[in-house]
Structure formats: structure tokens, C-alpha cells
């Protein structure tokens, strides 16, 4: 996820940009007289490619930070008993792992890919609001430095799980919770600004001739994701502000003693939280929908259905939040409503899987690294979808809820789901970013290690959960020992194999087999019409979009 820095702009570079209607005239219009050098260049940059790289590097760093937290958790759970860390610190680790992975690794990675690829895919010279783009990135390091610093504060960092249920996160929370709230506010603002920028770019800056219906699915899914972000991040901001008031200003939103309701917190949190789940998976759908047709050398099956299904999923995602709350004592009617709506949302999601599989059918398939990850995505995400379907059955959820079965479920949709899709996207677009193909041998090695690691880590968790192991416990009864042993071995293996990913990316930035503009034989979208590596400024004169490149 650390692409090569786009070359500093120079006349040679831009004149090599042959495609997309770049003209000699276009070059003389660079607005910047002298670019700042060194650190200031990165602090002040407004270039979508540089900001995209910053997002991706930030995300990769946080992926490892969150990963180390996970390994602390897995090390403690390696065998029964308390060996390495105290329960208090264990709870901080589970909480921080969740928060960092969701808000600092997965979400910024997708924003980084959006920054890099959306302008290239729609033939725009940059994002619509470049300065805002810079600001929304630089909020993130500040926010997460603050969040991580809470670990060193007296009383420790957040220890109430990434879902921070009140009153554990209000009345009973450590003193650092106020900092946690501020950090989350900043991350939320960053997401909203990023989303506004993406919507403005997609709606206003498409190349002449490119209609909405011609847009690649990655652009489509991001457009819908951006609307979801704008809709739900303010809900998150609201709920953490209510926490802030409860903690510091004597209100009782979530305190029954003062007339409040702890369950209200969960309703608000999950009204944000469930669309958030789709925020983390819809762009992944877009990436996979770009990669599978490329390496099957066959147009995506059911492009129209995919677009409509994405819209349907986005709307339905607002109607299912209480399936996270089946055991808080909802009225029977509410249980039934949310059970039905949850079961139905599986349908458009299933349709997408069917479409990918049908795209493969009678294709001409090759197995380059991006394709390997995309195929693994389809299989393993579907397994996560199956356990999701099981969790939707409300009576059965009384047994599944808050166990390792749930942990297995959401890790299957997030790790081999969202994260594999991100990695697939990185492998797919690395030639465009760096001008080199990633080392195929190493990438394959990374793939197989990841596949083994991910399944060894998360598959046994299904069994542990069904056998009765609750989540978020630092120590467990003896009958869960074998499953936990396997999971811990798998986690360390998976963690170590991600170092291979860094190696592949670094090697690819530094050199490797040269990639042509159209790096993959079956690739069709607009980004493949600019040279590899993509020069710092592309499409300064809008390209003419040919219908032949569209999806029909």
C-alpha cells in the first residue's frame, strides 16, 4: 500500500502522457511556480496521487499497529490462564485493535484508493476540492496519535470494546475517554470531508462523454459509500457527543438513574455501525468487480444489476441495525422486523456473488496476484456471508450473540473481505502507480501464506463460539484451549506473512519488470490509458471517453 511517489512534475513527464487527449498546450498551465521540497511537500500537497499515497502509507502503518495489538490479544489467549498481560490491558488491546483497524486501517485504505483511482477512472485531472483533500488526510495522523496516546495516560486507554457500550464507556470509563471522543470526532470529520470530495468529483468531473452509467463499478460503489458516510458519520458524532456530555457535563442520556436509557446508546451506535459495515465492504465490491473481468477477459456479468444492487444494499443497510441487539430485550415485533430485513439484505449481496461467479464462467482466466486475492475474496467473503445469514436467525442469535462465532463472522467479512480486496486493488494498480509489476513469486507466496494464516486464525473461532466461548475474555475454560491454540498460531503466521506484502510493495517501488500503460491484458478502464507510472498530473485536458470502453 505504499506506492511509488509520483514523479515530481516536469515537462518530460507530462509530455510522455500521450493518452487521454493530453496536448502540448496543456503543459504550460501548471499553476504551481515552485513546489515545496521535503516534508513541506507532503504537508502541503494538494495532488490526488500524493494524497492517495499518504492515505495508503498511513493505512498500512496503522494496519501493523492494529495487528500488533491483535497479536498481544492472541498471545494472551494462546493457552488458558493469565500469562502475559493483565485483564485491564487486555481490554485496552481488544478495544484499540478494533478501533484502529476500522477507523485507521480499512477506511483510510479505501479513501486512499479512491483518491488515486477515481480521478484516473473518470478522466479527471484531480479531486474536485484539493485543499480539502489535504486537510481531510492530515486530520487522521493527529486523530490517531491522540487515540494511541491514551494508552499512556493514567488509568489507561479505552477499555470498553470498539462498540463502547454505555454505561461502561461513560460512568465506568477511564479518564482518557474524553480524548478518545475527540479523536473519533476528528476521524469522523476527515471521513465526511473525504466523502464530500469524492461525491463532488464523481458528479462534476467526469470526462466528456462519460455518463453515470459508464462509470466503473469502483466509482459507483464509492459514490454510494460516500453518501452512506455523510449519512451516518454525524450519527456517530452525535452519540459520542452525548457520551461527552454524560461524562463531563452531568447529563444522563445513557444513565437510567437520571432518566436516560443505556439501550438508546446501542440504537444510535448501530444506526451508525451497520451502514459502517457496508462502508467497509462496498468499495471492496467495486475493486473485485474491476479485477475479475480483467483476468477473466470477459465483461462483468450483470453490471446493471450490480449498480442497482449496491443502491439497494445501501438503503437496506439503514433498516437492519438492531440485529446487533437481538438480546437486549427488544419487543417481539421489533425482533421479527429486524430478523426479516436482515435476511432480505442477504439477497442483493448474494446476487453480487452469483454475478462474479458467472463472470468467471466461460471466461479465459489467468491467475495473476490481484486475481488470486480477488478470487479468495469471493470464496471467503461468501463464507462470512453464510455465517451472517445464520446470525440473522434471531432465535439462533440468542446462542451466537457475543461469542467467538460472531468474532469469526465479522473477521471473515473484514479480513479476507475488505482487506484482501484492498490488497487485490494494490496489486492490481501497483503497475500504474510505480511503473513496475510486483514480483510475482513473492506476491504468490504472500497470497498463499495469507490464505493459510487467515483460515487457521479465524476458522477455529466458529467452533470456539458454538461451543460457548464468549468474546472479549482474557482467559477461558479448558474446553476452548485447542481452538485458541490454533487461532493464535494462525494469527502470528498471518501477521508475519504481511511483512512479505511490505517487501513486495517496497521492491515494486524500487524496480522490477517494466509495465506498459495497459498493464493487464484484459483491463479496459480509463486509468490504463495514461502511462505507467502515472505522471503527477494526468488528464489536464479531459480525455474523450469512447463508448467502446464502457461496460456494454
Amino acid at each position: 500500500m505504499a506506492p511509488k511517489l509520483p514523479p515530481q512534475h516536469s515537462l518530460q513527464h507530462s509530455s510522455s502522457a500521450v493518452a487521454g487527449g493530453q496536448s502540448q498546450e496543456g503543459q504550460s498551465h501548471y499553476p504551481h511556480a515552485a513546489q515545496p521540497k521535503g516534508l513541506m511537500r507532503w504537508l502541503l500537497t494538494t495532488n490526488h496521487k500524493e494524497i492517495g499515497s499518504l492515505y495508503l502509507i498511513f493505512s498500512l502503518t496503522m494496519f501493523f499497529v492494529g495487528g500488533i495489538f491483535a497479536l498481544v490479544v492472541r498471545a494472551e489467549l494462546f493457552q488458558p490462564g493469565l500469562q502475559l498481560v493483565e485483564p485491564e490491558f487486555f481490554n485496552q488491546m481488544t478495544t484499540m485493535h478494533g478501533l484502529i483497524m476500522v477507523f485507521a486501517a480499512v477506511m483510510p485504505a479505501f479513501t486512499g484508493l479512491a483518491n488515486w483511482m477515481i480521478p484516473l477512472q473518470i478522466g479527471a485531472p484531480d479531486m474536485a476540492l484539493p485543499r480539502l483533500n489535504n486537510f481531510s488526510f492530515w486530520l487522521l495522523p493527529v486523530a490517531f496519535t491522540l487515540l494511541l496516546s491514551t494508552l499512556f495516560m493514567p488509568g489507561g486507554g479505552p477499555n470498553f470494546g470498539w462498540t463502547f457500550y454505555a454505561p461502561l464507556s461513560t460512568t465506568y470509563a477511564p479518564a482518557s475517554t474524553t480524548f478518545f471522543i475527540l479523536a473519533l470526532h476528528m476521524a469522523g470529520i476527515s471521513s465526511i470531508l473525504g466523502a464530500i470530495n469524492i461525491i463532488a468529483t464523481i458528479l462534476n468531473m467526469r470526462a466528456p462523454g462519460m455518463r453515470m452509467m459508464d462509470m466503473p463499478l469502483f466509482v459507483w460503489t464509492w459514490l454510494i459509500t460516500a453518501f452512506l458516510l455523510i449519512a451516518v458519520m454525524p450519527v456517530l458524532a452525535g452519540v459520542i457527543t452525548m457520551m461527552l456530555m454524560d461524562i463531563n457535563f452531568g447529563t444522563s442520556f445513557f444513565d437510567a438513574a437520571g432518566g436516560g436509557d443505556p439501550v438508546l446508546f446501542q440504537h444510535l451506535f448501530w444506526f451508525f455501525g451497520h451502514p459502517e459495515v457496508y462502508i467497509m465492504i462496498l468499495p471492496a465490491f467495486g475493486i473485485v468487480s474491476a479485477i475479475i473481468p480483467t483476468f477473466a477477459r470477459k465483461p462483468l456479468f450483470g453490471y446493471a444489476s450490480m449498480v442497482y444492487a449496491t443502491g439497494a444494499i445501501a438503503l437496506l443497510s439503514f433498516l437492519v441495525w438492531a440485529h446487533h441487539m437481538f438480546i437486549v430485550g427488544l419487543p417481539l415485533t421489533a425482533e421479527l422486523f429486524f430478523m426479516y430485513s436482515t435476511m432480505l439484505i442477504a439477497v442483493p449481496t448474494g446476487v453480487k456473488v452469483f454475478n462474479w461467479v458467472t463472470t468467471l464462467f466461460r471466461g479465459s482466466i489467468s491467475f495473476e496476484p490481484p486475481m488470486l486475492f480477488a478470487l479468495a475474496f469471493v470464496v471467503l467473503f461468501t463464507i462470512g456471508g453464510f455465517s451472517g445469514l445464520m446470525l440473522a436467525i434471531a432465535p439462533a442469535d440468542f446462542q451466537y450473540h457475543d461469542t467467538y462465532f460472531v468474532v469469526a463472522h465479522f473477521h471473515y467479512v473484514l479480513v479476507p473481505g475488505a482487506i484482501f480486496a484492498i490488497m487485490a486493488g494494490v496489486y492490481y494498480w501497483l503497475p500504474k502507480w510505480t511503473g513496475h509489476y510486483p514480483n510475482e513469486r513473492l506476491a504468490q507466496c504472500h497470497f498463499w501464506c495469507s490464505i493459510i494464516g487467515v483460515n487457521l486464525t479465524f476458522f477455529p473461532m466458529h467452533f470456539a463460539g458454538l461451543a460457548g466461548m464468549p468474546r472479549r475474555i482474557p482467559d477461558y475454560a479448558l474446553q476452548f484451549a485447542d481452538f485458541n491454540l490454533l487461532s493464535s498460531i494462525g494469527a502470528f503466521f498471518f501477521g508475519a506473512s504481511q511483512l512479505l506484502f511490505v517487501l513486495v510493495v517496497v521492491l515494486c517501488v524500487r524496480g522490477g519488470q517494466k509495465a506498459p500503460a495497459k498493464a493487464w491484458e484484459g483491463a479496459v478502464d480509463l486509468e490504463w490509458s495514461v502511462p505507467s507510472p502515472a505522471p503527477l498530473h494526468t488528464f489536464e485536458t479531459p480525455p474523450v471517453f469512447h463508448r467502446a470502453q464502457s461496460h456494454d
Binding site: 452509467m213 442497482y308 444492487a309 443502491g311 415485533t333 426479516y340 432480505l344 439477497v347 442483493p348
Partner: protein, 57 residues
Amino acid sequence: MWSVVKSVLAALLGVQNDRQRQQDFSNGKPVAFIITAVVVTMMFVLLLAGIAIYAAG
């Protein structure tokens, strides 16, 4: 109008053909789709709530 409703219902199922999509995107106004989609979603909520209330007895 009917074609807009039909497209929105198709979206709810997650199935749409390319010809209809071409038509939606060349003739339809986005606002019409968004409003229809929101209305249809609300009707869907009411329908589902109705079934839930009925089933709960």
C-alpha cells in the same frame, strides 16, 4: 413514472438489464429515482413492519 417505479423495484431485488439501465440513465431524472427509492423503501418498511406485527400476533 411507471418505468421509474419498475426500475426502483428491480433495484430492490438487485436485478436489472442493460437496456432498461440505458433508458434510466438517458431519460430519467436522478431526483425522480431518489424520491421514488425513498418512498419505496418506506413502503417496504411499512410492509415488513406489518408482517412483523401480524406474525407477533
